[in-house]
């Protein structure tokens, strides 16, 4: 018995490491190319800016990853994120609540909207793709009606102070928060009962149900978690911009949210997550985005590069897999 699990684990570890090693090589190589072309790429100023946007990309990736774990997907995370953004702005500016309480309530809204998604999926039995596609429009529609698409600019100075604060003169606190979330998620999926139940529900719902895993509860929980994480990503943008803007998130988060996990080797089929992989995938997204910016290539071509990288990555994984004989 012990032998079997050990073999299973080492096989999994091999599987987990190889694509990530490839990703790391690509990231380092790209950083090298960008630095050669434009030495300012690794200036403290640019590294700080990259760290701030990396934090957002990482958390968006996690928000998608936790739902992918159960074999579902969440197309509404951008809409949930912007709902949290606008609520936090309303609470701070109009109601004058302290920043910490406003942020907590905004995250609670994210969790509540995620719960709605999960509840609708479980109760109706309708595919998570359709439910979250519809709820994305529902959420952002409601947000636009309530805010009239007007930004909230008069936030307390603490907010932008957090955004421009530099730990050790280089690192944004948002990046530290993202790293902390990575550790928490790693522990959650590897050691906690709820985390393992989520993976079981995603891997094989029938078998999971038969062995007493509350599959429906796991799905709802994964969507709540996804909603809270989308809220975290939204608040990171609030802190960076120093205002609550209704054009944050929305459809713009869709591609990056899948890029991180899929580049990192998380399958759409469910039952498997890779926190480090998602982290590296998000890092690649940030490196490319910032590189194109520094080289002055312009944001218009960004989408093309991100799409090509996603395509190249899934193809590499697919054909790498033929040689490595992936299980399943």
């Amino acid at each position: 018995m012990g032998l079997v699990t050990d073999a299973g684990r080492s096989a999994r570890q091999r599987r987990e490491i190889s694509p990530q090693f490839g990703l790391m090589v690509i990231i380092v190589a790209l950083c090298g190319v960008f630095t050669l072309k434009q030495p300012g790429y690794i200036s403290p100023f640019n590294l700080f800016a990259m760290g701030r946007s990396l934090a957002v990309d990482v958390v968006i990736g996690f928000s998608q990853m936790v739902v992918l774990a159960t074999g579902g997907m969440n197309l509404s995370l951008g809409s949930i994120g912007v709902c949290s953004v606008m609520l936090s702005g309303y609470l701070m500016q109009t109601l004058g609540l302290p920043v910490s309480i406003a942020f907590l309530l905004a995250l609670a809204l994210g969790g509540a909207l995620g719960w709605l998604n999960g509840f609708a999926i479980v109760k109706s039995g309708v595919n998570s793709f359709v439910v979250t596609l519809a709820s994305a429009n529902l959420f952002s529609g409601a947000m636009l009606v309530l805010t009239r698409a007007l930004p909230i600019n008069g936030l307390p100075p603490t907010v932008s102070a957090i955004g421009s604060y530099k730990v050790f003169g280089l690192v944004s606190p948002t990046l530290l928060a993202a790293t902390m979330l990575a550790v928490l998620l790693f522990v959650f999926f590897r050691y906690s009962v709820s985390g393992k139940e989520m993976l079981a529900a995603g891997g094989n719902p029938r078998a999971a149900t038969m062995s007493g895993v509350p599959v429906n509860r796991s799905i709802i929980l994964s969507h709540m978690l996804s909603g809270v994480l989308a809220g975290v990503a939204g608040l990171m943008v609030v802190v960076r911009v120093g205002a609550a803007i209704p054009s944050v998130g929305g459809g713009d988060w869709l591609l990056p949210s899948f890029l991180g996990p899929v580049l990192g080797g998380v399958a759409l089929a469910g039952g498997f997550v890779s926190v480090t992989g998602t982290l590296l995938g998000a890092m690649l997204v940030t490196v490319i985005r910032s590189g194109l910016l520094v080289l002055d290539i312009g944001n218009f071509w960004l989408q093309l590069f991100l799409g090509l990288f996603l395509l190249a990555a899934v193809l590499a994984q697919r054909y790498g897999g033929v040689f490595r004989r992936r299980p399943r």
């Binding site: 359709v130 519809a134 709820s135 529902l138 529609g141 009239r148 093309l304």
Partner: protein, 317 residues
């Protein structure tokens, strides 16, 4: 009674009823609803939507999905504009080439999905991003205005309440029906969508059908893009940005199965009409335009839930 029950059981009957009741309600809410011009406006806005819905429907039929319908439409629209303005090609040549570009984009989607076995969701998310990237990179987000006046006039033309723009979807719909229900490739396409394994055992190549479905979808997206250019009077790079929801809402509200093998052409058309009706009514009664997005999301959730409930209910009795 049995006839009535059978009518209710057909997928599109409920939609037809919703459309009729909705129209009556709109007419009561606003006297300008039942005017020739308003019905023309409503039908005109539904024309592009129907083709977008068909473009998604044909991919759903084979059991896949395409997130790239809108992105491909946007790319075709700007290339169409470029062919007219920069190359000065004759209109009909430009239209033919635009449709070919659409088919080529669809072929890329289909070939990548079929050859690699990677989920169509991921493949089309990636290719969609590539299409949008090329579109934005080439145009720098600026539209092409050099569209022949005749073509713009076609976009505005009407006969009483009937817009000229509605003709293409009205011609495409029966062609699609004949293809899917009478011709061998169409039957095979649906068979692969219903059960790919069984279809393969009976000698059908699922890969070929997947490629075929995506190619047709690309052509339909291209046609939708050409109509959108006629409707807007310029080749806007933003064409296709908002197609994602309607592309799925049309076929799915219309009764298509996400698992493949079953679609309803009439259902998809009625669903797009219902959506156009809702948008039109909200504008007429001067509701905040942001409610439209909310209403669309709610409508999809409601009908999908209802369909689900009806299916389980019908199975019990």
């Amino acid at each position: 009674m049995i006839a009535l029950r059978r009518l209710i059981a057909t997928e599109w009957a409920g939609l037809g009823l919703i459309f009729v009741l909705g129209s009556v309600l709109s007419a009561l809410l606003s006297p300008s609803f039942f005017t020739e011009f308003n019905i023309y406006v409503m039908l005109r806005s539904a024309s592009v939507g129907m083709l977008v819905a068909f473009a998604q429907m044909i991919v759903l039929a084979v059991g896949q999905m395409s997130l790239a319908v809108g992105a491909l439409g946007g790319l075709v629209a700007v290339l169409f504009g470029a062919m007219l303005e920069l190359l000065g090609l004759p209109l009909l040549v430009a239209i033919a080439l635009a449709l070919l570009i659409g088919v080529a984009g669809g072929l890329i989607n289909g070939a990548l999905t079929a050859a690699t076995g990677i989920s169509s969701f991921i493949v089309t998310l990636a290719t969609g991003s590539v299409f949008t990237g090329i579109n934005l990179g080439l145009t720098q987000s600026k539209p092409f205005h050099g569209v022949p006046p005749d073509f713009v006039a076609f976009g505005d033309a009407r006969w009483s309440f009937m817009p000229a723009l509605l003709w293409p979807p009205l011609i495409v719909a029966p062609l699609l029906a004949v293809f899917l229900y009478r011709l061998k490739p169409g039957r095979r396409l649906l068979a692969v969508g219903g059960n790919a394994y069984a279809a393969e055992l009976s000698g059908i190549s699922p890969a070929a059908m997947v490629v075929l479905a995506h190619a047709i979808s690309g052509g339909l997206a291209g046609l939708a893009a050409v109509l959108a250019v006629a409707q807007l009077g310029a080749a806007q790079p933003e064409i296709g940005n908002t197609w994602l929801l309607i592309s799925f809402a049309g076929p799915i509200i219309g009764g298509a199965s996400l698992n493949g093998g079953s679609v309803s052409i009439l259902g998809a058309m009625l669903a797009v009409m219902v959506i156009a009706l809702i948008e039109n009514t909200l504008v007429l009664v001067k509701v905040d335009p942001y409610w439209v997005q909310f209403a669309l999301g709610a409508l999809v959730l409601l009908t999908v839930g209802l369909n689900r409930w009806r299916a389980t209910h019908a199975a019990k009795t």
